[in-house]
């Protein structure tokens, strides 16, 4: 941290999720913004729930997460100014090559979840109130299954971020529900391969919100707004689209 950055105070703190950080998006995205605006962006990467908690306490200027319900509550409770959609990617279901539940190649995520429960195949969940975890739970609900019945037996809650959960799944050869970005950047795959993708219900929307300066007077609202404006601008959206690992684009801009 350079002394000049401190003395000018020209930085914002963005509470974001581990999936955006670990996919490498920020490393690609932020330098472009910083060069253009001179504002340093400091990202604290946690799960969606934790990130919003941080923002609620006023420890961040901007929240950039993926969890529509949680985000809308955040704004409704008066902690965020407005929810703005930025980009999306999708979730995918990863599983061991041995595929005990026989779901590989499928395109119906709800059926896949039902088959996993029926086969009591090992499933590693994040279990950390993150956006990914929330999406996973929504799908169990759609499948009319309460995974808690298998808790400790075949349904394992890691209580951890996406990376560590993938590590765990890789080590014990379990099915795991993840966002595509983190999976593409993940290097420790072991015997895990892509099992199910493409279901419309796997859509994962990211939103950005300025922390409400009426609630926390110290929030850097001008710098924060500059960041938000840039992210949804044509340049910001193009930069997001340009981020690839190999040939795969990770995030798809959809700001209106």
């Amino acid at each position: 941290m350079s002394a000049s950055a401190l003395s000018q105070d020209k930085f914002i703190t963005v509470a974001s999720t581990t999936s955006t950080e670990q996919s490498g998006l920020f490393k690609h995205l932020l330098p472009v913004f910083e060069k253009k605006s001179g504002i340093q962006v400091r990202v604290v990467a946690l799960g969606t729930g934790q990130a919003l908690n941080l923002a609620r306490r006023g420890d961040a200027d901007v929240a950039f997460v993926h969890g529509k319900d949680a985000e809308e509550k955040f704004v409704a409770d008066g902690f965020g100014v407005r929810r703005i959609e930025v980009m999306f990617n999708d979730f995918i279901l990863i599983g061991p090559k041995s595929d005990a539940a026989k779901i590989a190649g499928g395109r119906d995520i709800v059926t896949a979840f039902q088959k996993i429960a029926a086969a009591k195949a090992t499933f590693a969940s994040r279990g950390d109130k993150s956006g990914t975890h929330a999406a996973e739970l929504r799908l169990w609900k759609l499948a009319s299954i309460d995974p808690q019945v298998g808790k400790g037996a075949w349904y394992l809650e890691a209580g951890a971020g996406m990376g560590p959960t993938l590590n765990t799944a890789s080590a014990i050869n379990a099915y795991v529900f993840t966002d595509r970005g983190t999976w593409l950047a993940f290097k420790n795959r072991g015997d895990l391969v892509l099992a199910v993708e493409g279901d419309r219900r796997l859509f994962n929307q990211y939103g950005v919100m300025l922390v409400n300066p009426a609630r926390h007077a110290h929030v850097k609202k001008d710098f924060g707004q500059a960041f938000i404006d840039w992210i949804v601008s044509a340049e910001g959206q193009q930069t997001i689209a340009a981020y690839k690992i190999g040939d795969d684009q990770l995030f798809f801009p959809n700001a209106k």
Partner: protein, 234 residues
């Protein structure tokens, strides 16, 4: 074994590549831990000395408490300091959260009990030998504390080193109060945690080897100082 050799290769590659970002992370780690050790030492050594040579009711309880605090879980310290420094907390107005300063505070809180408890033991052992002579010469409590601190300096170097090792190896507290922000509060331990969670194990291990080398280096340096000083001062 394959992972370990891959890690050693990675570590060598990291060092020889003289990567600017890596250098920044290493430098921040050193700065934070050394600052924490200096602050902790300034508080803990006099505390340990006074605790060793004074007698007062409740002293044994205080010593037991201090010894117990050596085992303070870092993640608990991190959480407490986070609550203190958070904007919603009592010290929020200083805006210290997610800065290297917060990490220095967390590490200093962690290692002060260690340095105090260990120095207390070292000095109390020496006090048994020195007490009568120093009293005979008319030294008051302050003079005794100063004299003992200086005379046990070689053992105290090791105590301070123990504190440094603990600080440099710490990840739980600095992760919470620092936020592992790229370029700002990312230190070696949190970088290792991040790379591990990204599944890049060779890189994580390589960084780990580097960290261990750093700590070994610090120890060798201190030992060298100790040996040289002993040769000249007995």
């Amino acid at each position: 074994m394959n992972d370990i050799s891959a890690a050693l290769v990675e570590a060598l590659r990291l060092i020889s590549s003289a990567d600017a970002q890596l250098a920044q992370i290493v430098w921040l780690s050193v700065r934070v831990s050394v600052s924490a050790v200096v602050i902790a030492t300034v508080i803990a050594l006099p505390l340990g000395a006074l605790l060793a040579i004074t007698r007062f009711p409740g002293r044994q309880t205080l010593i037991a408490l201090l010894n117990a605090l050596m085992g303070l879980p870092p993640v608990v310290v991190g959480l407490l300091i986070y609550l203190l420094l958070s904007r919603a907390g009592p010290l929020g107005e200083f805006g210290l959260l997610f800065t290297p300063t917060a990490m220095v505070i967390a590490q200093a809180v962690l290692i002060t009990p260690i340095i105090a408890a260990l120095s207390r033991q070292v000095i109390e052992d020496a006090w048994r030998e020195y007490e009568e002579q120093l009293h005979s010469l008319g030294a008051d409590t302050m003079a005794c504390a100063q004299t003992l601190l200086w005379d046990t300096r070689f053992a105290l170097i090791i105590v301070v080193l123990a504190g440094f090792g603990r600080a440099a190896a710490e990840v739980g507290a600095v992760m919470i109060v620092g936020g592992n922000i790229d370029g700002v509060t990312r230190v070696m331990t949190t970088a290792i945690a991040l790379e591990t969670s990204k599944g890049d194990l060779p890189l994580a291990l390589g960084l780990g080897v580097l960290l261990v080398l750093l700590i070994i280096g610090a120890n060798l340096l201190a030992h060298g100082v100790k040996l040289a000083a002993q040769r000249y001062q007995g």
